[in-house]
Amino acid sequence: MVRPTIGAARGLLVALLLAGCAGPQELATTEAGLRLAADEAEARLRASGRVVRDPELDAYLRRVLCRIVGERCAEFRLYVLDQPGFNAAAWPNGVIEIRKGALLRLENEAQLALVLGHEAIHYQNRHVAQLWGRAEQAVGVGALVGTVLGLRPIGEAMGVLAALSYSRDMEREADRLGLERLAAAGYDPNEAPRLWAALLEEKARIGDSGQLAFLSTHPTDAERIAELRAGAARLPVPVSADPTGRAAYRAATARRRGAWLAAELRARSFAASEILLDRLRAAEPESGELLFFAGELRRLRDGPGDAEAALALYEKARGRPDTPVEVWRSTGLVALRLGRRAAAKDALATYLARAPTAPDRALIEQMLEDQDRP
């Protein structure tokens, strides 16, 4: 008696679900709805304080975007988010967001072009709308089976898991096409696996490598690097003086990097920041700025031996042309922590002498006065 009833219900549902399955019309409707929601979110983003306002940097990023996507670049709006850590995303209305923590981790223009091109492909190939449509179908089938079995939440969850594999396919497509575009735009395609390998190393060190592959929206890291390496090997390396665009990227970002590094350290993910700083210092061993921030990392972390290590790094940094004047303040603060009053007073006084308009002048003067009290 039970079986025919369930059978009839199932038949009705299959008919209803098939009637609602995604054709091109359905995809267009989904896309219009997602675009509307994204436009609203974009208005809120613009009104928020989360966007870095820097016209010169924006102009540079747009030039690189246009070089990688070609004439369709007018469809995109780029936002740099005031957030540490590596991430970038494409919205279904043509917004590409990239964190300043990502810009800090890129070594050259080729890597920037790779990230922007990858996100542009997600938008141009309508990945969000496709994923939504497929997720709806998968969850619909899951809910139907679940309802008939009396286990609807489990059925829906299985549908979501099935939809995630589509997401991995889309990442592969963006990786593959992104690599081709990178080479076509005249950049060295070998920068793609290099970037991912560097990010993977950072991720592994902070203990984030144990995620379950079937739950992840991106292909597993080793798989991804292997595919990118194989892909890059098949593509030509352009013959030019600077096929990675390293000099251009440095020129566009040099003045901003100090602030980005300071923000990165404020996030207090010291294990990840240490890998990042080691990587940057390997490429620029003479940089006073990087020596200073390596010292800052140790000063802020304040683990065993960190104070001494910070002082040694500050000492190496001082006197180099690109070292920030704050190296004197940090030297003084660490010396104070170690009880070296005379050295601390000396360093703090030097800081005030070299940065007469420092915003923390009153605070430092007070500290100096406190040291003179018995």
Partner: protein, 238 residues
């Protein structure tokens, strides 16, 4: 997104409708602040913040651009009918704003929306229930000043309709429930919020909120939009 989820969870809890909230000093004497009578002051009507879409089988919200556009026309027409003759009304048309005005408008609308949603979320807390003293701050709003407006009326509505798949699944769920098995029924919901903000003091002088699971007002039709506006703006002091 998180807010949408909260609405859906509230929707599942049933129907809620609070009494409209009025700032006492705003209406006790029929006049506000510098003495201008409220019905004489000019009211700026911001474009209604609307979202119309489907609820899918798993309860997910799917915005529909075509329905939302239709609803925007209907709600605007219903608001103008409702307020016609009662108040000097000026509409803000986002498309006609220059970039500086637009940034200014977006800042104000975002802030006022956050305050209005906070009233919905926290207005019933024991420490807030008897104190209606919400404000968007005395930040001023150049656009409003240039248009000589004293008040801004903000309306938000979210209207969700069960998708075809969900209706089919609900039918099946009833059948399953009839067999004694556990089943889930999900439906659409209607959410509405309105705030009247005094642009001189920044105070929210009037607020109302409604939430309903029964399909009383389908914003896709003009008559549905009129019903929704009538219910939301009942007891509006202008």
């Amino acid at each position: 997104m998180r807010f949408g989820l909260a609405i859906l969870m509230l929707a599942l809890a049933g129907c809620a409708m609070t009494e409209p909230k009025v700032a006492p000093e705003a209406l006790a004497t029929g006049s506000v602040g510098s003495g201008a009578r409220i019905e004489e002051a000019k009211v700026l009507l911001l474009p209604p913040d609307l979202k119309v879409g489907e609820v899918g089988v798993a309860g997910q919200f799917k915005p529909r651009a075509d329905w939302t556009e239709q609803a925007a026309r209907n709600v605007m027409a219903a608001l103008e009918t409702k307020l016609a003759g009662r108040v000097r009304l000026e509409r803000i048309d986002e498309a006609s704003l220059d970039p500086a005005e637009r940034a200014d408008y977006e800042r104000f609308a975002t802030l006022a929306r956050a305050v209005g949603q906070s009233i919905v979320a926290y207005g019933q807390l024991p420490t807030r229930r008897d104190r209606f003293d919400w404000s968007v701050g005395e930040t001023g709003w150049p656009l409003a000043r240039s248009r000589g407006a004293r008040y801004a009326l903000l309306v938000q509505m979210v209207d969700t309709h069960a998708s075809g798949e969900l209706i089919g699944l609900n039918v099946a769920s009833f059948a399953v429930a009839a067999l004694g098995l556990p089943a889930v029924i999900r439906t659409g919901a209607h959410y509405g919020r309105a705030d009247l903000v005094d642009l001189e003091t920044g105070r929210v002088v009037w607020h109302n909120f409604m939430l309903s699971q029964s399909p009383v007002a389908d914003l896709r039709t003009l008559s549905g939009a009129e019903t929704a506006v009538e219910a939301l703006l009942r007891a509006l002091p202008i």
